[in-house]
């Protein structure tokens, strides 16, 4: 039986195999040409000095005050917008799913989140200039109706907090979209069992709900961090090149060799890849663990 089987199937299998490779090949060639090679090229270029020899000086060059400051403010903005986005997104998702709000509301929020999480880049900067800029509607209303002059109080849209508040516009919806399935995974029986055993709602969340959501929360947090760290269009449209964050520094470097050293530019890029890569690996590892509870 087995010999007969292999005897008839072998030629067909061979032909099909070449077809398989032909079908997958464009994808693999594409990935190598437009994902792997450009990245590896930059990694390689970061180790080359201006005469073409091997060097570690480019990475040492990352230690200059301007670049350290750029990394630091980038990390702070990405961290703040990720932490706030994750907390607020979690609160909204919990309110929607566990707070007994009308069902239609949830669908509307999910649709809106899909839109808002993709509404980034230059137009988002315009929207926040119209809102919280010096002549923005919110600024004007706060000033003339409530008598609060936020610009006199030290607020500036072109600053750490201004950028963080703007980034939240796509960070919160992304958190809602990713964490909602995890909250759905909290089975009703668990809270019923907890209250049967005499737990208060607070105790349920403290000892059951939040510990189960914790991995998903942490994982999404790192995803949001990477999301903000690589973003440039919003910041660039908002601040021009006045805010010294890593992507804007790199943008200036690509545009006109602002650092006057291509190797240093490549090292700057490698630093970014390491940071976003690390954040994403954390996300992948944690979300794989978190999925255990969603079965």
């Amino acid at each position: 039986m087995t010999t007969l089987d292999t005897g008839t199937k072998a030629p067909a299998k061979k032909r099909a195999l070449s077809f398989e490779w032909l079908g997958v090949a464009p994808f693999i060639v594409f990935a190598i040409m437009f994902l792997i090679l450009p990245t590896l090229y930059l990694v390689g270029a970061a180790f080359v000095d201006e005469k073409g020899g091997f060097t570690l000086a480019n990475f040492a060059g990352l230690g200059t005050p301007q670049i350290v400051a750029a990394y630091w403010i980038s990390i702070r903005i990405s961290g703040a917008s990720a932490i706030l986005g994750a907390l607020i997104g979690l609160a909204i998702a919990l309110a929607l799913i566990r707070g007994k709000l009308p069902l239609g509301l949830r669908a509307a929020v999910m649709t809106f989140s899909g839109v808002a999480s993709n509404f980034a880049g230059v137009p988002l900067a315009f929207a926040f200039i119209s809102t919280l800029g010096r002549l923005g509607l919110a600024t004007v209303i706060l000033k003339f109706v409530f008598g609060i002059d936020i610009y006199k109080a030290g607020f500036n849209l072109l600053s750490f907090w201004g950028l963080t508040i703007t980034y939240l516009y796509f960070q919160i919806p992304l958190m809602i979209l990713i964490i909602a399935p995890a909250i759905d995974g909290l089975k009703k029986e668990w809270s019923e069992a907890a209250s049967t055993l005499g737990a208060t709602p607070w105790q349920f969340w403290r000892y059951v709900g939040l510990p189960i959501l914790w991995p998903s929360f942490l994982g999404t947090l790192s995803l949001l961090f990477a999301n903000a760290f690589g973003a440039i269009a919003t910041a660039y449209a908002l601040t021009g090149s006045s805010l010294n964050i890593v992507p804007i520094l790199l943008y200036a470097q690509i545009r006109g060799d602002a650092l006057q050293n291509p190797g240093l530019g490549a090292a700057l890029a490698v630093g970014m890849i390491l940071i976003t890569g690390f954040a994403n690996v954390v996300y992948l590892v944690i979300s794989a663990r978190a999925e255990r509870w969603l079965k």
Binding site: L42, G99, A237
Partner: protein, 263 residues
């Protein structure tokens, strides 16, 4: 119980305010171009700007090309991986996640240095070459979404049985993919297409660094030079994104579900 509901409404209300106020403010600002009263002048100004029409058309065309190239690359790959090369799956999935890990600005930096005019493949040596490179760059950006959409679509149909049935009827592999598989996952493919379009249409970083006359750099330029038009453009962009997302929502209702084999 009543209390938890109160908190839920409060959180929802504050959240809704944060998301709606910028939209209202932007819309209000876009109406203020004529002094003294509200008008749609800024929109008229935007739509009559030939640069708006040119850059929007350019980005729309590049977007459509990116969708076509994306489908041609992703659909056969997902099909064969699902059908016979399951061992390749983790690697393919990892590759499709890379554009989320590597920021767009890094990718374009790599392209510029790797495919410059003195390299073996001088994409950036000519305008057409740069257009092609921009298209490929957008395919890369959209890859995670296109892959996921197509993969989800193929999960809901029975690839194995459809393939066997088509083979018995005498179809060859390209015919199976183009005329059996693709129509069955059309809804999923279109979702990926709309998402690609939403990502690509206002993209700034790559288009700007490749010096192409796309919609994103145009937006940035208007933002730096005009007062009311940027607000109008923000509203227009929001409506485009909204349109693309509602199409995806609408399409998901028409998704065919040939029940996959359970054994």
């Amino acid at each position: 119980m009543k209390q938890s509901r109160f908190w839920a409404w409060l959180v929802f209300g504050v959240g809704a305010a944060y998301f709606l106020v910028p939209l209202i403010a932007t819309f209000e600002f876009s109406l203020r171009m004529r002094r003294g009263y509200y008008s749609f002048d800024s929109y008229a100004s935007v739509f009559s700007d030939p640069k708006f029409q040119q850059t929007f058309t350019y980005s729309a065309v590049i977007g459509l090309l990116s969708i076509i190239v994306g489908i041609l690359i992703v659909v056969p790959a997902v099909y064969f991986v699902r059908l016979r090369m399951a061992w390749l799956r983790p690697y393919v999935e990892f590759l499709t996640l890379l554009p989320l890990i590597i920021p767009a600005i890094i990718l374009v930096y790599g392209y510029i240095r790797l495919y410059n005019s003195s390299s073996i493949i001088p994409f950036t040596g000519s305008a057409v070459g740069t257009d092609i490179l921009l298209t490929f760059a957008y395919v890369t950006l959209a890859l995670p979404y296109m892959y996921r959409a197509v993969d989800t679509g193929m999960r809901t149909i029975d690839v194995q049985t459809l393939t066997e049935a088509a083979q018995i009827a005498g179809a060859n592999t390209p015919q199976i993919i183009a005329r059996i598989i693709l129509p069955n996952i059309l809804v999923a493919v279109l979702s990926g297409a709309f998402l690609t379009f939403a990502i690509v249409i206002g993209e700034f970083t790559i288009a700007s660094l490749l010096n192409r006359p796309a919609f994103g750099p145009y937006l940035q330029n208007i933002g730096a030079n005009r007062a009311y038009e940027p607000a109008a453009l923000a509203i227009i962009s929001f409506i485009i994104t909204w349109g693309a997302m509602s199409m995806i929502n609408l399409l998901s209702r028409f998704a065919p579900r040939t029940s996959a084999r359970t054994d």
